[in-house]
Amino acid sequence: MTHRANRTLRVEGLARVEGEGSLRVRSVDGRVESVELIIYEPPRFFEAFLRGRDFREPPDITARVCGICPVAYQLSSCRAVEDACGVEVGDELRALRRLLYCGEWISSHALHIYLLHAPDFLGFPDAIAMAGEHRGLLERGLALKKAGNLIMTAIGGRAIHPVNVRVGGFYRVPEPAELRALTETLKRALDDALATVRWAAEFDFPGVEVPYDLLALRDSEGYPLDRGEPVADTGLRFTASEFKTHVTEQQVQYSTALHARLDGRMYLTGPLARYSLNSDRLSALAANAAAEAGLGPRCRDPFRSIVVRAVEVVYAVEEALRIIEGYERPRAPFIDVEPREAIGHGITEAPRGLLYHRYQLGADGRIVTADIVPPTSQNQPAIEHDVARLVEQHADLDDHALVSLCERAIRNHDPCISCSSHFLDFTREDR
C-alpha cells in the first residue's frame, strides 16, 4: 500500500495503442494536478504539403496518415472533395463505399478488441500470451479481423492503403461473384461477432460513467458510417460545413496533437458516442446482442467500449452481408468530378470516431488549404480527464497497479496516436 500524497506516474511508450505516446500524471495531496497524454509522434505536416496538390490526390495522400483506418481517410476526403465540386455519388457506388467501410470497421475493431484491449481484461501482456491459455479466442479474433480485411482486399486491392478508391467512386468495381465469394466467410464472421459480444459482456468492468458531451453522426437511415450529420447528446445538431465553428482546437506544449473542444466543452466521439446516439438504428440482431450484453440505449462507461465495439462488429458484418446480397455491378465505376473554386467538407465515422476533412480548391483544381480533424485529437482531453479521475479514485493503489489502470483507461478509447499527431489546426489560433 503506497498511498503517497505527492507522486508522479510515468508510462514511457504506451503499448498496444497505435502510434507512439506516453503519459505523465502529477498529483499533489491526492489531487491530480496534471495529466499529460504526451504524443511525441513526430508531425508529418500533411495539411501543409496538401497545398498545391491536385484535388484528386487527397484519398491516396491522406490514407497515409493512418495505416489502421485508411478507408476512413479516403472516404472523408472523397466526400469533402466531392462536396466542393458539387457532386454526390449514386446509391450503387455509395453502397460499395459503405461495404468497404464495414470491412475497415470489422478489421479495426477486431484488432482492438482481441489484440489490444482484451489482454487488459484477462491480465496478459499481449494477445500471443493470451493465446497460450485461450488459443481458440485469439483464433476467433483473427478470423474476424481477416473477414474485414478480405472485404477491403476484394474492393480496395489491399487492406492497408487500398488502391481502388478515387474521388467520384472507384477505379474498378468488382463483379458480383467476387463479392459473393465472401458470403460464407462473413456468415461465419457473424457467429464469431455475436460470440464476441457475449464474451466481452462477461468481463469485469469497474463501472465508471463519463460526464462529457457525446458527438456522433446521425444518418437518415441506418447506423452512421459513411455519412450523416453531426449531433450531440446535448441536442446540438449542425452541418458538416459548420464543424469548425463548433469544434475548436488548441495546441498544448507537451504534445504534437491538438486538443479539441465542442462549443468550449470537453466531448467524446467514437463507439460510445455513436452507440448512445444511434442505438435505435442498429439492426435487430445487433440491438438484441447489445441488450443481452446488458447495454442500455446509451453507454457512458469507457471500459464497456469493448462491448460496444463488439456490437458494432455485429452490425458491420450484417451490413456487409446485406450489401453483398443486393449488389449489382454499377454501370460506371466512378462519376465524373470537375473541379471548381469552392470549399468542401466531409465527415465520416472512422472506427475511432468522427473524421472531418475540409478542402479549399482553386479553379484549377489545386488545393489551396486543407484541414483535417481526426477522432483521437478530439478525444484527447477526455482521455486525460478519465485518467485524472481514475488516479483520484484509486489513490490507494500502488504505482504499478495505478499505472496499468491508467494505461487501460487510455486503451479504452483505442486512441490512434499516429493519426492524431498529424492534424493540427491549419489556421493560426494564438490564444
Binding site: E18, D60, I68, A143, K145, L424
Partner: protein, 245 residues
C-alpha cells in the same frame, strides 16, 4: 527461437500493422519467433540484443536520429520496412520545402515542435541489411523475410519492374491497352501489381526499381494525358526522396 523487435519512427503504423494482418500466420509464427519489442502489440519490452529488428518510419527528429543508432547496435539483422523507412516516405515532401514555413503554417506555437528539416531514410543513418519496399509493405514479402532468415537463406526480394508481376498475373497492360498513365515500368515490384488489377496505373508506392529509366517514361506519360505538373507530382509523393533517376 529468433527474437524480433519492431520499431516505429515517423510513419503511419501501416507497415507494422502488416505483421498483425498475418492472421493465418501469426500463431504459427509465434511458435518460431519471440516478439521482444513491439509496442503496438505487446507491453513486453526486452532490452535486446535482437536477432531481427524491423524498422518502420523515417527519421524526422533529432531524437530519432539518436535512437536508430542504439537500435542498430542491438540488432543482428536490421530490416527496414515501408516507403518511410526506405526513402523518407511522404513526409519527405518537406525536404523540398521550407520546413519552418510548414511548421508555422500547421502549428499555432511552432516553437513547441521539434523537427528536422528533412525526413530521411533509415539507410541514411545506419547500415541496413534488407529493405522491404512499399506504402505499405506487402504481407507476403514480410513473411518471406522472416521465414528466409529463420531458414538461413537469402530472402527472395526481386528488384525488377512491377510489369514482371503484372504479366505473371495475366493482367492487361493499362498503359498500352487503355492509355492510362502507369509507373509500372520504372517501379520496384513486390506489390503483386495491385493497381493495374483494378484498371489503375501504378503510382509508384514501391519506389524506383533498380536502374529505372524514368526519362524514357516521361513522353509516354505525357502522351497518355499527364501535364508537367502532374508529372512532377506523381514522382513526388510516396517516395518523393527516392532515386527515381
Amino acid at each position: 527461437m529468433l527474437s524480433i523487435a519492431v520499431w516505429k519512427f515517423t510513419s503511419c503504423d501501416g507497415c507494422q500493422l502488416t505483421l498483425l494482418d498475418c492472421e493465418d500466420e501469426l500463431l504459427p509464427l509465434a511458435r518460431q519467433v519471440r516478439f521482444a519489442h513491439f509496442t503496438e502489440m505487446t507491453s513486453v519490452s526486452e532490452p535486446g540484443p535482437y536477432d531481427i529488428s524491423f524498422v518502420e518510419g523515417s527519421v524526422t527528429t533529432p531524437a530519432e536520429a539518436e535512437r536508430i543508432q542504439r537500435i542498430r547496435e542491438r540488432s543482428t539483422v536490421l530490416v527496414v520496412i515501408g516507403a518511410c523507412a526506405t526513402s523518407g516516405g511522404i513526409q519527405a515532401l518537406r525536404n523540398f520545402a521550407d520546413v519552418e514555413e510548414f511548421r508555422s503554417v500547421v502549428y499555432a506555437r511552432p516553437e513547441y515542435i521539434e523537427t528536422l528539416a528533412t525526413s530521411t531514410a533509415i539507410a541514411d543513418h545506419v547500415e541496413v541489411d534488407y529493405e522491404l519496399r512499399g506504402c505499405p509493405i506487402d504481407k507476403g514479402q514480410l513473411l518471406e523475410v522472416v521465414t528466409a532468415l529463420a531458414a538461413g537463406r537469402e530472402p527472395d526480394l526481386p528488384e525488377t519492374s512491377v510489369c514482371t508481376d503484372c504479366k505473371r498475373r495475366g493482367l492487361t497492360c493499362v498503359l498500352v491497352a487503355h492509355g492510362t498513365p502507369c509507373l509500372g515500368p520504372v517501379t520496384h515490384t513486390g506489390c503483386g501489381a495491385l493497381c493495374p488489377a483494378v484498371n489503375r496505373g501504378c503510382y509508384g508506392c514501391f519506389g524506383p526499381m533498380k536502374q529505372p529509366n524514368v526519362p524514357a517514361l516521361l513522353p509516354l506519360l505525357r502522351r497518355s494525358g499527364m501535364g508537367d505538373d502532374e508529372l512532377q507530382m506523381v514522382f513526388a509523393t510516396f517516395n518523393a526522396a527516392a532515386e527515381w533517376s
